[in-house]
Symmetry: C2
Subunit: 324 residues, 2 copies
């Protein structure tokens, strides 16, 4: 690097660390924290499983005495409320002698919501806010969505042929995408708190929905079944897309009925489109009716945020454009 | 450029020139020719409409006296047969005093087929062959396909939503893709000798299929209708994908029936997939049955050769992988 790192460079590292906390930090936000002294990283932290320790506590523990006079980069405002499960991070940063703090986003939790920043400033610490705020909220999208919209962040996964089929006419779907794309799908499972399928997919495929990636087996998410009836052992029945409680992130894996139900209620925030370079013809469509009455309504809703080749398949990632 | 241009660099220019001849040179091959002397381009040519003048004749005319002692780069072996419509190119190159010739591909036409190369060598000209042969045959794909397979080179265009629909359930399809993608589609029309649609598309859309791009209006291709019946004025009836005569290149524009007929008979060489970032759900599929009986048959047939964003739409270009 030709120039010395700027605040945004260090914050990008803190945000990358924050992603390590996902999804196990839920229901706590997955925060990342970096402590830098004299241009060197002396502490790194991210919210640990079930929310404790917080990212700041982990980073401060790593920095030890080096935290004195150092700068901290935190992807969310440090908490101002003590808890039986751990100390208040604003106080801990002050006590450690941090001299300067950059914060990506203010915490909307009414117990903090600016109070952490105020307390740090009152202690004489220089506080900079809004550094990579959009990137930080994207990295914490599940938690933000629950905070602001009161519902889980939903990712819809579709694996199709070039002509948009998820199976042949007779239902066979093994395999449309290749090994690379399927492994990527398992990584996405590991990043979600819950996975949901419809009853048709359960009956047809009896999917295990576990994370078959070495080292991530413990990440296998809660299994939700979209059904008006009961769910078998190991599954939780969900009557409708609106009725999911206590979950920050859901990966909708199939089939067309479940996908359409979430789209029809505008509950999909992110779309993972794995597409194999094959044509099926006369196969099963990826979606049923999603309530569209005019083609113009379909436009302007999805923004491409990533596109990559996975073996010979292409993954396109779209995010729902929501104004306001 | 740090190093002096190599044969492949000059040949790449000749091949780029050859594309200018497409599709108006048909039934003659669209050849490109570059004449280089002392590291400078002194002549450029490409096969003119209806096949004459040939690329070499045009380039030699541009070079004039400078051709003496120069090098020529030609994307196809110069012809060895004189014709009432023009001189034989091998003789013309010899007469102009060309000292060295690089040739991409040998002409399979039995009237030339090595005879051009032999005559040039017999005249003392240094001849190099096989320079960018694959690139040259791609640039001349329509002519090569007719020469080798006795049928036209077929491009299938599909414009779909992310879920693979070419229209809503009620048939509305204006518009799925945006202005950039539609303009690119017009450019593709200009590169084909004929455009084909099925009767359903003719009845539903009454498409004009002209090239609505300034300066290219004269390129509007012949209009073919895939039908078991008669064609209206201005159209030529085609009973089946196998029954197209006297055309080097066909763009299949719609609808699902025509597309499926060409795929089912393995007559599609190139696939243009324009995809808008929209979801339709329950719409009309891009394809009907194409004769697939097992998913494994679908794999390994298409190779991605280009991918680009056109406004907010993505164009992926696939070519049919044909062994041997």
């Amino acid at each position: 690097m030709q120039r010395p790192p700027a605040d945004a460079d260090w914050m990008a590292v803190a945000i990358a660390l924050s992603r390590r906390g996902r999804p196990l930090s839920a229901p706590n936000p997955n925060v990342g924290c970096l402590i830098v002294k004299d241009g060197r990283v002396v502490g790194r932290g991210w919210t640990q499983p079930r929310g404790r320790p917080h990212a700041e506590a982990m980073a401060l523990a790593g920095a030890g005495e080096a935290a004195h006079g150092a700068a901290a980069y935190v992807s969310l405002e440090p908490c101002a409320h003590a808890s039986p499960r751990g100390p208040c991070c604003a106080d801990a940063l002050i006590a450690a002698g941090i001299a300067r703090i950059a914060i990506a986003a203010q915490d909307p939790d009414p117990r903090t919501d600016g109070e952490g920043i105020a307390r740090l400033r009152a202690a004489g610490i220089e506080v900079v806010t809004g550094v990579l705020a959009a990137e930080a909220s994207t990295a914490m999208a599940p938690w933000w969505t629950r905070q602001l919209a009161g519902r889980p962040f939903v990712t819809l996964k579709l694996a199709t042929s070039l002509d948009g089929c998820i199976a042949m006419g007779d239902g066979s779907s093994r395999w449309i995408t290749g090994a690379h794309a399927r492994a990527h799908g398992h990584l996405e499972r590991a990043n979600h708190q819950a996975i949901l399928v419809g009853r048709g997919t359960l009956v047809a495929d009896d999917p295990s929905l576990d994370v078959r990636l070495a080292g991530l087996e413990d990440r296998s998410p809660t299994k939700l079944l979209l059904t008006s009836g009961k769910a078998p052992d190991g599954w939780t029945a969900i009557a409708s897309p609106e009725s999911i409680d206590d979950v920050d992130s859901v990966l909708v894996e199939g089939g067309a009925g479940a996908a359409s139900a979430f789209l029809a209620t505008d509950r999909v925030d992110r779309l993972l489109l794995y597409r194999a370079p094959i044509l099926i013809g006369g196969g099963r469509p990826a979606l049923g009716d999603i309530g569209l009455t005019d083609l113009s309504q379909a436009h302007g809703r999805w923004r491409l945020t990533d596109s990559r080749l996975l073996g010979s398949d292409r993954l396109d990632v779209y995010e729902r454009v929501r104004e306001g």
